[in-house]
């Protein structure tokens, strides 16, 4: 089992490295120019924009490992940003309470989702699809199509936690990834999540408190998405209702590319972050190829299929051994 996990994560790292090397070669500049892709500034940019997906992908990985799915992260990111902006800009709250308000969006949406799934026993797909609509709808209602310009109220050259603002998102992402990697592997709770995802009936029969664990999984997903939303609004400077539209698919794809199986019981948080980076590199490098702009969706789709197919093959081979 450990061997399988190690191989899977190793292969994700290998894919990322292969991708970077490929683009480094393909985009090699003519003599006398700086490399457009392989430079520190570009790397930071990739991290900065991927981290928003990455923070939410950590939550998505946990949900998918538990055998569920969450379609709401994009909408929660938007609403959290809107609520933070609403309090900070329109109601002149201080920054920290505004952030707390934004994070509470994730807690509430997570609680509501878990009520729908655990108590009302709705299928997670349907429940989170509904939550997606509700959250996004509330965001539009609050903003009425306008947006909150958070950057106008932040001091220029503001360094949150003492670091340049562009570093905030990656730092939060890696912190969350580390925390949850530890929780999933070293805490009983994390193992319960794997058990429920692997075989919910057997987990129930083994004495695991299914309801409690499943509820906490969705709350975590909500909180992480709202954390991503708060970070987004601080880094980008705007709280808008149409932010992060469609992010949930990229987030889920990142988790799957990183090793999470949609059937549940398999995956890793670190893998999800690596998956986010794989897509981030793709999104950054493709537009540098003339004419390739329109191919990015196609390539992302092909990449996801290839990786999932390879994953299945690896799984089947190791279970036969």
């Amino acid at each position: 089992m450990k061997r399988l996990r190690a191989v899977r994560e190793l292969s994700t790292v290998a894919i990322l490295i292969a991708e970077v090397l490929f683009f480094a070669w393909y985009l090699w500049p003519d003599a006398g120019r700086a490399h457009p892709f392989l430079n520190a500034e570009n790397a930071l940019l990739i991290l900065k924009y991927s981290s928003i997906y990455g923070i939410a992908a950590v939550g998505a990985a946990v949900v998918i490992i538990s055998g569920g799915i969450d379609l709401a992260p994009g909408a929660v990111i938007a609403l959290s940003g809107v609520v933070t902006g609403y309090h900070f800009v329109a109601h002149d709250w201080a920054l920290v309470p505004s952030i707390a308000a934004g994070l509470s969006v994730g807690v509430l949406s997570g609680l509501l989702t878990s009520l729908l799934i655990v108590n009302a026993k709705l299928p997670p797909f349907i429940a989170t699809l509904g939550m997606m609509g509700i959250t996004r709808g509330i965001a539009f209602i609050i903003t009425e199509g306008q947006y909150y310009d958070v950057s106008s109220r932040l001091p220029a050259g503001w360094r949150p936690l003492g670091v340049p603002i562009d570093w905030l998102a990656p730092i939060v992402m890696f912190a969350m990834a580390l925390i949850f990697q530890v929780v999933m592997t070293r805490f009983q709770w994390g193992r319960s999540v794997f058990s429920i995802g692997g075989n919910e009936t057997a987990a129930l029969f083994s004495g695991i408190a299914i309801g409690r664990v499943k509820a906490s999984v969705y709350v975590i997903s909500g909180v992480l998405a709202s954390l991503a939303g708060v970070v987004l609004v601080l880094v980008q400077g705007q709280g808008k209702a149409d932010l992060a539209t469609g992010y949930e698919l990229d987030i889920i794809a990142s988790a799957v590319v990183g090793g999470a199986s949609l059937a549940g019981g398999r995956g890793s948080v670190m893998g999800a972050v690596l998956g986010t980076l794989i897509f981030g590199v793709l999104r950054n490098a493709l537009p540098q190829i003339p004419g390739a702009t329109f191919y990015d969706r196609l390539i992302v789709g092909v990449v996801v299929i290839i990786i999932v197919v390879v994953d299945q093959l690896l799984l089947r081979r190791s279970s036969k051994s």
Partner: protein, 330 residues
């Protein structure tokens, strides 16, 4: 055993990327050849429209590609968010800065929002021009596009002429973009000069063509005696049926943009006046400007008025001929 799996995975991924790269048959020259000092290197210009799904900008791309082909030493990188999203456009702009392109020409979704990023590009030594929609408060070197205020005024004057100075008028716009705001201001300014004209409502259709059709239908029902629709963007004429509910004998239509099928709708009589922008020029002029700047020739003025083409039944055929020539279709 592990190594074999990694090898398989890496090979498969490389194959996938290869397939994707091979798939870019249009304009994808493959990895750029290593050039020596003798061969001049190509200039990489990033041309960024507001979004990939706004049809007017496709002509800008054609113009840019044509200009690049003519010059021979220019490579056009055409990129934008899939649909209008300010943050995504900012992200794309930022990535071209870190990727050290040689020049950027952008039609900003929100000029104020992009101000700081544009300035960063300028400071990093990358020349930036704007087209179609300006970012006037930034350090951009030049803006090529219509004088929106003037164009709006022209539309207003055309309306007054058509209506003989009397009648109810409804306006269509999308809130947010500065250029549309300015056009709207121009229209209102011109209409104010005719006391017999009453603006009953200004509709915001949020850059959504379908919404535009809905609004025209419901607006026509609401104001049965409406004398004219004035649209500062081409939404009513981007599809054939947006104007279906309009009765040309009772209501006149004046719209921006001459992109197909606008000219056909004009011929049918559903719209009377079209204002054409220099669509191909957005692309070709931007490439020329950037190239000149790179060679040390700065433009004479910061604002370059491209001018508008006023198209009516009388000159539509000549206009179409010219169009075909510019898109390389003859």
């Amino acid at each position: 055993m592990n190594r074999a799996r990694l090898l398989i995975v890496s090979l498969l991924f490389a194959a996938g990327c290869g397939a994707g790269a091979a798939g870019c048959s249009i304009g994808c020259p493959g990895p750029p050849p290593r050039t020596d000092a003798a061969t001049p290197r190509k200039l990489r210009f990033a041309i960024i429209p507001k979004a990939l799904d706004i049809p007017v900008f496709n002509y800008a791309k054609i113009g840019a590609d044509r200009a690049a082909q003519e010059y021979g030493d220019v490579e056009v990188l055409w990129n934008a968010p899939a649909s209008a999203d300010q943050l995504k456009q900012k992200e794309i702009l930022e990535s071209y800065i870190t990727q050290r392109v040689d020049g950027i020409a952008i039609s900003s979704l929100n000029g104020e929002f992009l101000k700081d990023t544009i300035n960063r590009a300028i400071d990093a030594g990358i020349p930036v021009t704007t087209w179609d929609s300006d970012a006037p408060t930034s350090k951009r070197i030049a803006f090529y596009g219509v004088d929106d205020l003037a164009s709006g005024r022209i539309m207003g004057e055309q309306a007054i002429a058509l209506l003989n100075g009397k009648g109810k008028v409804a306006l269509i716009t999308s809130l947010g973009a500065a250029n549309l705001q300015n056009r709207l201001a121009g229209v209102k300014e011109a209409l104010a000069k005719a006391p017999g004209i009453e603006v009953v409502e200004t509709y915001d259709i949020k850059e959504d063509v379908i919404r535009c059709a809905e609004i025209i239908a419901s607006g026509s029902r609401r104001y049965p005696d409406l004398a004219a629709w004035i649209s500062v963007g081409g939404w009513p004429v981007f599809t054939r049926n947006a104007l279906a509910s309009v009765d040309p004998s009772k209501t006149k239509v004046i719209s921006f943009d001459t992109i197909s099928p606008a000219l056909d709708i004009l011929r049918e009589g559903k719209v009377q006046v079209l204002l054409g922008q220099k669509y191909f020029g957005w692309g070709s002029e931007s490439v020329r400007l950037l190239r000149d700047i790179k060679q040390g020739k700065n433009p004479p003025a910061a604002i370059i008025d491209s001018g508008v083409d006023i198209v009516t039944r009388d000159n539509v055929d000549a206009y179409e001929q010219q169009w075909k020539k510019m898109s390389g279709q003859d």
